[in-house]
Structures are given as C-alpha cells and as structure tokens.
Amino acid sequence: MKIARFLFRGSLFAYTALFFAFIYIPLVLIGVYSFNANPVNMMTWTGFTTQWYAQVLGFKTTISENALYIESTDQLVQAVWNSLIIAGSTTVIATVLGTAVAIALYRFAFFGKRFYRTVMFMPMLMPDIVLGIALLIFFVNSGIALGLTTIIIGQCTFLISYVFIVVSARLAGMDRTLENASADLGANEWVTFRKVVFPQLLPGIVGGALLAFIISMDDLVITYFIAGVDVTTLPMFIFAMLRRGIKPEINAIAVMMLSFSFVVASLGLYLRSRQK
C-alpha cells in the first residue's frame, strides 16, 4: 500500500512536470531559434546570430534580401504604433466606465441590477467572432468609416467587462467599516470616497487597467473584422505574415513581444500579490 501510494505520488509529480514542459518548452524553443543564423530553414541550427533582431529593430544587416519579409521596418513600426494608440485609448475608456459600473452595482440597490450584471458578463462569454461580425454589420450600416475609431469602440465593448470584474472583486473584499468610521467622524461622502474608498480601490483599478491594456494589445479576432483596409495592428501584422509564409525575422518579433508581455504581466501579478 505504501509503495503504491509512493508510485502514485511520483507519477503525479512527473505528470505535472510534463504539464509545465508542454507549456514552456515551445516558448524556450522560439527563444533559442530566434538566434539561429540559418536563413533558409529556421529549424536547422547553423550558428548563432543577432542579425534578425538587428533587422527588426531597423539596423543595417548583411542578410540577403530574399530572406526578408519587410524591406523596411516602417510597416512594423506603424503596426506597433497603432496597437499602442488603440490600447492606450481603450484602457482609459474601459477603466473609467468599468469602474463606474462596478461602484454603482456595489453601492446601490436598484431595479435592474441583475440585468446589468448579466449584460456585463455577456461580452466575455460571447465568442469573439460573433461580436466581431455584429460590430462590422453595425458600423457599415451606420456609415461609420472603419479604422482606429471603430477598433477602439469595438474593443471597449468587452474590455469594460474585464475591468468591471477585476474592480468588483476588489470592492467585494473591501472593509466597509472604514467607510462608516469616516462618515461618523464627520467626513462628507465625497471626502470619504476620495480619502477612504478610492485608495483601497486603486490596486483593483490599476490591475483592471493593466489587464485591459494587455488584452487590447493582443486582440486579433474582433479587431480583424472592424479594422477596415488601412489600419493594421501588431497581431494582425503577425497573422498576415503567417498566412503569407514564415521568414526568420518573425522569430525575433515574437520573442520581443513575449518578453514585453512577460514583463508587464509579471509586474501586474507581483503588484497584486503585494497588495494582499
């Protein structure tokens, strides 16, 4: 019996190790192969080089033209810019609106509260593609030209929900006695909100905003449908590259994107763990 239990424990551990290997080995592989000098077959190692990174970042390299995708980095830089503009705007809008609903649903009892709650969860459960085409039909029918504006509006529909959920979770864990104490000590509602509620709420708001930013930077499906012909975001750029066929530069771009989101996400999760 003891041996059986030991074997069971051991195999469970081995399984979990494989589980993490499955998640992380692909990420490690791309990191390694992004330094591979072979311009023809990306997966056959012929030597170490940092040329792909140099190429993507716009430095002069000795890579022959036919191994390249982008003659210049202009398109890529433009896509990154678009993504940043969109993520910046959506983060501000979604954070303000999402926080407002969360506070309203937390503090007030009113008719239709359950309806609001349901509607707030709907965009998250809705398959991306359904929301994407619904917005496309809507924008085209209402004569709004597809572009940055429509992307920002479209992404806000589901980012508000993410912010709402993060902020609501924070509100649910908050200490209401502090508010009462503040009121008892003679602070009016506004002062209580500013000095007592808001500081407690801030980590939730920051967390929600970070989440919104990252999800916005990464959104492909909804953006793809409502972007129109002129605007390309970073995920759309990569998607288009994948459809045309892969060249080694994309490894370097991928690794830089992964590193960026690792840093932002780790920071967010670290901040959250500190606040507890």
Binding site: F22, L242, A265
Partner: protein, 301 residues
C-alpha cells in the same frame, strides 16, 4: 443645489452619473449590433453583397436542410462543417481536461509558496500574444519543423510526417491556448475538495477507483463543467487556430463565417452561421445554470 436635495435624490443623481455612460455605450455598441446581426440573419442576401429587406429563413435552411428552392438544392456541406466544429471543440475540451485535471491535484497539495508560483506560471501565458503562441506550433509541426527534423535526423522516419494542417494540429493548438481557461475552474474545485471524505471512503473499504468515481469526481464536477463551458464556447467559433494550423484543408465554422464576410460577401448567411454558434453557447449556459441551480438546491436540502 446639492445640499437642498434629499439624500435619496442625491443618491439617484449619483447612480445616474455612474450608469448612464455605460448604459448608452452598451445599448448602442453591444445590444444594438447584436440585434442588427439577428435581423440580418433573417434577410435575403442582395446581388452585390448587400441585403434585401424581405423575410428569408433560407439562410438557416442552407445549413439545416431547407435551402431556398429557387436558388440551390440542399447540400449538407455546411451542416458537416458545423458538426465537425462541434467535434473539434468537444475533443479540445476533453484533451484540455486530461491535461489539467491531474496537474490540479498535484499543485493543490503543494506548499503555499510553490502553489502560488505554479499558478503564476500557468496564468502567465494567458497574458502573452495568442498569435505568437500559435505560430510556435507552426514551427514545431510543419514539414521542416522541429519534430520532423528530429525524427528524420534520428532515422526514425524517412519522409516528413504530415503533422500540421490536420484536425489533430487544431486540437493541439487549441489545448495549448486554452489551458489556463480549464485549469483555473478545475483547480478551484480541487482545492476546495474535502479530503476527509476521501479518507473516510477509503477507510470504509471502497477501493481507489470507486472512491474516485463516487467521491472525488462528483465533488469536482462543478469545476469541470465550468472549465468545459469556457473552453467549448471559444473553441467552437474559433477562426485563428484553424486558419494558422488547419491551413486551407480544415474548415471550421469560424473560417466559414470569416469567408462569408470578407470574401463571399454573403452577410445574411454569415450572420445565420454566427447565430448557430451563439445558440449553442446559449443552450450550454442554460444547461449549466439549471444544473448548478439544482445542485445548490440539493445542498440546501
């Protein structure tokens, strides 16, 4: 002025200030578009990509078997794509569960520190670019990819295997991106599991298999059901994974919808397809809510 207002009046103003912007936003940009999509799915496709304002149930008919007799004979190709998407999504759910379930048990019994670290490692990929994570699998699976190169070099095969552009590749890609979605709900119910019940069952002579089926599985079922739903819904309508790992050969609902909107320009038919995805989602959610409601009632009694 504010000070003249009654408390109730002031609260009403505050509530209105907080809720009006969101209400307008959701009414115009969420509920509005959904309504228009539903209406579009019942309209006739126009000649050059527009719609004609007549009631036309044959968009659904093309999928379900009552195609417009004036236009075409019924061809079950769309139905088979629908069924195939259901099948791939179901396989994805099962595979994701098999990957996550045992790991959840292992991680739930670690010390606090290691537990948090493991949870961090599992959620981290969720925040990284989805398209990049899929692209890595292209590099691994394609003809000149890592797996084939390794097998060729090892002399195990003499011709590259066709790994990419298959149903299996799609399921693999989906499992990879949906792991956090399944793991979190499953883990939540595994962590809450009352181990004294398990020990009692073992002490009273039930074997490990019987204990698993009668005690552990029912107690973790809510987490499994929750995970299954939040994996199944995005898997069913997914179009990025089949577009990247399925190539032109494997068509899923998502690709078909994309095609109707961006190349075939038959918006009513595309809307009807999207409605099919949505109705599957609504049915699943309904079952889930009813089932968990009954469960709650059972516990109360």
């Amino acid at each position: 002025m504010a000070s003249d207002m009654s408390l109730a009046g002031r609260r009403r103003v505050q509530l209105a200030l907080l809720l009006t912007p969101v209400s307008l936003f959701f009414a115009v940009f969420f509920l509005g578009p959904l309504t228009i999509m539903i209406v579009t799915s019942f309209l006739a496709p126009g000649l050059y990509g527009g719609v004609e304002w007549v009631f036309y149930p044959h968009n659904y008919g093309r999928i379900l078997g009552f195609a417009d007799p004036a236009f075409e004979v019924f061809d079950p190709v769309y139905l088979s794509i629908f069924l195939r998407s259901l099948k791939i999504a179901a396989f994805t759910v099962i595979a994701t569960l098999f990957v996550c379930y045992p790991a959840a048990f292992c991680i739930a019994r670690l010390s606090e520190r290691w537990k948090n670290f493991c949870l961090f490692l599992i959620t981290l990929p969720f925040f990284t670019s989805l398209i990049v994570r899929l692209f890595i699998w292209v590099l691994i699976l394609r003809q000149t990819g890592i797996v084939n190169e390794a097998l060729l070099a090892g002399g195990i095969i003499d011709r590259p295997l066709e790994l990419i552009y298959t149903d299996g590749a799609i399921v693999l890609g989906m499992v990879y991106i949906f792991i956090p979605f399944m793991f979190m709900p499953v883990y939540a119910s595994v962590e809450k599991l009352d181990w004294t019940l398990v020990r009692a069952s073992l002490d009273l002579g039930a074997g490990p298999i019987r204990t698993f089926v009668r005690i552990i599985l029912p107690l973790t079922a809510p987490g499994i059901a929750g995970g299954a739903i939040i994996v199944f819904i995005p898997a069913l309508g997914n179009f990025v994974v089949p577009a990247v790992l399925g190539g032109a050969k494997v068509m899923m609902l998502g690709n078909l919808i994309e095609q109707q909107f961006l190349s075939a320009r038959n918006w009513p038919f595309g809307s009807a397809l999207a409605m099919m995805v949505m109705s599957v989602m609504l049915v699943l959610l309904f079952i889930y809510v009813v089932a968990s409601g009954r469960r709650g009632a059972d516990v109360m009694n």
